[in-house]
C-alpha cells in the first residue's frame, strides 16, 4: 500500500511504486484536472505541486512523493479563488483549456519564489507548453496575480 496526501486528504492506495503520479491522480483518485500531454515531462500539462514546488508528474513514480503534500488544480483553492485563478479568469486566458491546469499550478508555485516577477523571470520560470498560444495572456495574468497577491498581503 502507498500512502498519498492529496489536497489535504490521506489516501491508502494499492498501486505499484513505479506508477506515475499523474495516472494515480487521474485513474485512482478521479482527479482529472491534471492532464496527460507527452509522457516525457516536456509539456507540463501534468504539473501539480509537491510540497509547494511545481512538479511534472507523468514520469514521477508515486513512491517518490509518499508523505509529501500533493496539491492538484482541484485543491489549489476552496472556491477557485486563488489569485492565479482569478487573474486567469480576468484575462480570459484559456482557449482549448487543456494545458491550463498545469499552467496555473506552475504559475502559482512560480509566484511563491518570484512574488514580483519581471518578464524575464516569467520567460525563465514558465516553460509549460500551450499549443493554442495563450502565452501573451498567461504573462499578463501572472503580473495581475502578483499584484493581487501583494495587495492581499
Amino acid at each position: 500500500m502507498i500512502t498519498l496526501l492529496v489536497n489535504g486528504q490521506r489516501h491508502e492506495l494499492d498501486v505499484e511504486p513505479e506508477a506515475p503520479l499523474l495516472w494515480v491522480l487521474r485513474d485512482e483518485l478521479g482527479l482529472t484536472g491534471t492532464k496527460f500531454g507527452c509522457g516525457i515531462a516536456q509539456c507540463g500539462a501534468c504539473t501539480v505541486q509537491v510540497d509547494g514546488v511545481a512538479k511534472r508528474t507523468c514520469m514521477l513514480p508515486v513512491s517518490s512523493v509518499v508523505g509529501q503534500q500533493i496539491t492538484t488544480i482541484e485543491g489549489l483553492s476552496p472556491n477557485s479563488r486563488h489569485p492565479v485563478q482569478l487573474a486567469w479568469a480576468v484575462e480570459d486566458v484559456p482557449q482549448c483549456g487543456y494545458c491550463q491546469s498545469g499552467q496555473i499550478m506552475a504559475a502559482a508555485a512560480f509566484l511563491k519564489t518570484h512574488p514580483q516577477p519581471t518578464d524575464q523571470d516569467i520567460d525563465k520560470g514558465m516553460t509549460n507548453l500551450c499549443r493554442c498560444g495563450t502565452y501573451p495572456r498567461i504573462r499578463k495574468a501572472i503580473h495581475r496575480a502578483a499584484a493581487l497577491t501583494s495587495q492581499k498581503a
Partner: protein, 725 residues
C-alpha cells in the same frame, strides 16, 4: 444522461477583486457571472421543455443555448451564443451553453443542425443567420405568448433583457414564466433579424462562457471520461504507413497485474488493462513484428526530390488569365524566379487523440472530442454495425483540434478493441502514437516565375505547385479534375493585380496521409506567395508595403489592413543592424489579415521574433475578445511551424514523435503581439479561427531578409544557416 438538471448546480457567480487599468484595486468586478459554462450534450431528455430546438428556458430564467459547432478553444461557443442572445433580447448573465445533439440531428435527417462540422473557420460565418434566426424566432414567440396571456394586441408588447413588457399597463413577464406557452406558438412567417446598428451585445468584448471550468480543472475533455466498468487501452501502430502487424509475442505481458488482453489489429497492436498506465507499460514490453509495406524505404530526401521534380512535369491549369507564357518568353523580359519548399507538419493538439466507447447490441455511445460529431456518428455506426440513429456522440471540450479532430482513427481502434473485450473501453493514443499516426499538413514544392514591367509591377506570373491532395488521402473524393481548392488557395485566389497569371497544380500524394491543418493550403501557400511578392518588391527596388499597396488599389479591405499594420508596426522607422521588419497579408476563410513582424538575427544566426503587429478585417466582429485570442494564438501556431515545424520521413515512417523533437514555441520565444481590427462591415462575415496562422511565416522571413539580405525559401528556419558570412 447529461440533462441540464444535473448540470446546473455548478452555477456560480464569481465576484472578486480585480485591478483596474490604472492599477488601483476595484472590488466586485463582475466577470463571467454566467451560469455554469460547461458544454454538455443534449440528448432530448431535458427536464424543462424546449422552446425551440435551439433553446430551453427554465422557470428560473436560465437560458440554455444549443451550439451546433464544436469548442476547441476558438471561442465559437461563446460567439454563437452571443448571436442568439442578441436577437433574443435576453439577460446575457442567464445564458449557458450545451452542444446540440448529433443523434437528434441524425434522427431528423441532418436538417436541424445541419453538418455540425467545425472546420474552415466556419462557425460564425456559415451559421450566423441560423443562430440569429433561432434567437429572433424564440423572442417573437415569447412576445406573442405574453400578448396572448394579457389578451392585448401583440404590437403593444416589447421584449427587453429577458422580460416581455406591456408598457401601457406597466406589466411584465419573465421569459421563464412565458417559455411553456411560447413553445406552443405557431407562426406563419419567422421574424426579421436585427440590423447591425441595433446590436447591444454583438461586437462587445465579452468574457468566454467556458473560462471558469478551464481555470478550476472541472472542464471535461474526452480523456476525462469515466464510464462504469470501463477498461483502458494503449495502442501502437506499425511505424511505416502501409506496414502490417505480422506477429506479436504476448509472453512478456502474460500475468502482469491488470492486463486483460492483447488485441491484434491489422496494422497495430493494443494492450487492454484495468488502468491506463498498466496498459501502456505492458505495451512497451511487447516487440511486435511488422510486415513492411511498399514504402519501407521512403525517406525525406527522396520525397524532397520527388516534389521538386514534379515541378518540371505536367500540371493541371487551376487559373489562366492573359498569357503568362508569352510574357515570360519575351526577349529581354526581367524575370524573377524562385523555388520554395515546406515539409510535412503534425497538428500536435495538447490532448492526444482518445475516445471512450460502450457497445451494446442496439446502441453505441462514444465520448470524444470531435470537430465533426456527425462523422463520428457515422463512423461508429459503420465500425459497430449499429444503425446511425442509435449512436450517441457525447462530445466534450476538445483539447485542441487544428483540423486533426475531423478524422477519428482512434475511434476505429477503440471499437475494434471493445468488440474483443466486451467492456466499455477508454482508448488513449500516447503522444508518440498521436504524432506518428497524424495525418499531416502536406509536403509541397512550388516554383514561381514573374516578369516585372518598366514600372516594377509584375506583368506576368507563372506558378507551378506540387502538393498532396487532402481529399484523396482522406478517401473523400478522387478529385478527377486534378484541381483541389486547398492546393491552390491563395495562389489562385489572391487579389494582387497581375494581368497575365497562370497557376498550375500537380496533386501528388506519397504514402504519408495528409489532412487539413489549421489554415490548410493557406498556411504554406501564403508563405510561398508573400515571400515571393517580397522578392518582387526588392527586385523592383520598391518598398514591400507600398509595392503590395500598389497592386491592391481596388481592395479597400486589404488596404485597410495594410495601412493599419504599417502604421502601428512603425513601418519605415529605422532599426539597428541585425534587425528587420517584414510584412505579409492574405485573404482566407473570408477574412483579410496582415502582420508586420520585427525580428533580430544574431551573429550566431539565431532568429528572435521581437514583435508582431497584426490587423484583421473579418467585416463584423462578434466577440473582439476571442478574435484577439485567435490572432494571438494563430501567430504562435504559425510561428512554431516557421521556426521548428518539420516531420521528416525515414524508412517510410515519421521521425519526430514527441515534443523533444517536434518543438513547440515557448513563452520565452513568444513575441509581443498586438491585435488591431480594421472592420469594413457589409454583407460578409469572415472566419477567425485560422487566418492569422498564414501570414506569420512570410512576415518573419521577409523581416529576416530585411535584417540579413538572406532569402529563406525552405522551412523550418531551424535548418537554415543565417550566420553572418
Amino acid at each position: 444522461m447529461n440533462a441540464p438538471a444535473n448540470l446546473a448546480p455548478s452555477r456560480r457567480t464569481l465576484l472578486f477583486a480585480g485591478l483596474s487599468a490604472a492599477g488601483g484595486l476595484t472590488i466586485g468586478l463582475p466577470i463571467a457571472a454566467q451560469a455554469s459554462a460547461r458544454i454538455h450534450l443534449s440528448d432530448g431528455q431535458d427536464v424543462h421543455p424546449e422552446l425551440t430546438a435551439w433553446l430551453v428556458i427554465d422557470p428560473d430564467d436560465t437560458i440554455t443555448i444549443r451550439i451546433p459547432h464544436q469548442e476547441m478553444g476558438q471561442g465559437t461557443s461563446t460567439a454563437l451564443a452571443m448571436l442568439v442572445a442578441e436577437e433574443l433580447n435576453c439577460d446575457w448573465s442567464k445564458v449557458r451553453i450545451e452542444y446540440a445533439s448529433a443523434n437528434r440531428n441524425q434522427r431528423e435527417g441532418g436538417k436541424l443542425y445541419r453538418s455540425m462540422m467545425t472546420a474552415g473557420s466556419s462557425g460564425v460565418r456559415t451559421s450566423v443567420q441560423m443562430m440569429q434566426q433561432a434567437g429572433a424566432s424564440a423572442r417573437e414567440r415569447l412576445r406573442l405568448a405574453a400578448a396572448q396571456q394579457w389578451k392585448v394586441d401583440p404590437t403593444q408588447c416589447s421584449v427587453d433583457k429577458g422580460r416581455c413588457l406591456h408598457l401601457i399597463s406597466n406589466r411584465s413577464l419573465r421569459f421563464g414564466e412565458l417559455a411553456p406557452a411560447a413553445a406552443l406558438i405557431k407562426m406563419d412567417v419567422e421574424p426579421d433579424i436585427k440590423t447591425t446598428d441595433q446590436y447591444t451585445l454583438v461586437g462587445k468584448w465579452t468574457p468566454r462562457l467556458d473560462t471558469l471550468p478551464k481555470v478550476d480543472g472541472s472542464a471535461q475533455f474526452g480523456i476525462d471520461t469515466q464510464v462504469p466498468g470501463m477498461v483502458y487501452a494503449a495502442v501502437v501502430s506499425c511505424p511505416e504507413f502501409g506496414g502490417k502487424l505480422k506477429a506479436v509475442d504476448e509472453a512478456p505481458v502474460k500475468g502482469l497485474r491488470g492486463v486483460i488482453a492483447v488485441v491484434k489489429l491489422d496494422d497495430a497492436v493494443a494492450v487492454v488493462a484495468d488502468r491506463y498506465w498498466r496498459a501502456k507499460a505492458a505495451l512497451d514490453l511487447l516487440q511486435p513484428e511488422w510486415a513492411p509495406g511498399a514504402n519501407a524505404t521512403v525517406d525525406s530526401a527522396r520525397l524532397d526530390k520527388a516534389y521538386r521534380d514534379a515541378l518540371d512535369g505536367p500540371m493541371v491549369t487551376a487559373k489562366s488569365q492573359g498569357d503568362a507564357a508569352t510574357a515570360l518568353a519575351q526577349p529581354g523580359a526581367k524575370v524573377v524566379e524562385a523555388l520554395y519548399e515546406v515539409p510535412y507538419l503534425a497538428h500536435a493538439p495538447m490532448e492526444p487523440l482518445n475516445c471512450t466507447v460502450t457497445l451494446a447490441p442496439e446502441r453505441v455511445d462514444v465520448w470524444i472530442g470531435t470537430q465533426s460529431p456527425m462523422d463520428v456518428l457515422k463512423l461508429a455506426a459503420k465500425e459497430s454495425g449499429v444503425a446511425p440513429e442509435n449512436v450517441y456522440v457525447h462530445n466534450q471540450f476538445l483539447g485542441g483540434g487544428f483540423g486533426r479532430r475531423g478524422k477519428h482513427d482512434e475511434l476505429v481502434h477503440a471499437i475494434a478493441v471493445a468488440k474483443v473485450v466486451n467492456k466499455p473501453v477508454k482508448l488513449i493514443w500516447h503522444r508518440e502514437q498521436d504524432m506518428r499516426r497524424d495525418r499531416f499538413r502536406p509536403q509541397a514544392a512550388i516554383r514561381f516565375k514573374a516578369v516585372l514591367g518598366a514600372d516594377g509591377k509584375p506583368t506576368a506570373m507563372d506558378t507551378r505547385v506540387a502538393v498532396g491532395s487532402l481529399l484523396r488521402s482522406l478517401g473523400l473524393n478522387d478529385v478527377p479534375s486534378g484541381i483541389e481548392p486547398m492546393a491552390v488557395e491563395v495562389l489562385a485566389t489572391h487579389a494582387y493585380k497581375v494581368p497575365n497569371n497562370q497557376v498550375g497544380v500537380m496533386l501528388k500524394n506519397a504514402h504519408i496521409p495528409v489532412m487539413f491543418w489549421r489554415s490548410v493550403g493557406a498556411s504554406q501557400n501564403t508563405f510561398f506567395l508573400e515571400s515571393f511578392i517580397d522578392e518582387l518588391a526588392h527586385a523592383a527596388g520598391q518598398d514591400p508595403y507600398q509595392f503590395r499597396r500598389s497592386l491592391l488599389l481596388d481592395r479597400p479591405d486589404y488596404l485597410g489592413v495594410l495601412d493599419t499594420i504599417a502604421k502601428h508596426g512603425n513601418w519605415g522607422d529605422p532599426l539597428p543592424p541585425g534587425r528587420g521588419r517584414g510584412i505579409a497579408i492574405v485573404e482566407t476563410y473570408g477574412t483579410v489579415t496582415g502582420q508586420v513582424a520585427e525580428v533580430t538575427v544574431g551573429a550566431d544566426g539565431k532568429v528572435t521574433v521581437d514583435r508582431v503587429v497584426a490587423a484583421v478585417d473579418c467585416y463584423h466582429a462578434v466577440n473582439p475578445n476571442t478574435i484577439a485570442q485567435q490572432i494571438e494564438g494563430g501567430v504562435v501556431y504559425g510561428l512554431t511551424a516557421a521556426l521548428y515545424g518539420e516531420i521528416q520521413i525515414k524508412d517510410g515512417a515519421p521521425v519526430q514523435a514527441n515534443f523533444n523533437t517536434y518543438k513547440l514555441l515557448k513563452m520565452s520565444e513568444t513575441p509581443k503581439i498586438e491585435v488591431h481590427m480594421s472592420l469594413s462591415g457589409g454583407k460578409k462575415w469572415g472566419g477567425i479561427g485560422e487566418p492569422s496562422v498564414a501570414p506569420i511565416a512570410p512576415a518573419v522571413c521577409n523581416a529576416i531578409f530585411a535584417a540579413t539580405g538572406k532569402r529563406v525559401r525552405r522551412l523550418p528556419l531551424k535548418n537554415i544557416d543565417l550566420r553572418k558570412a
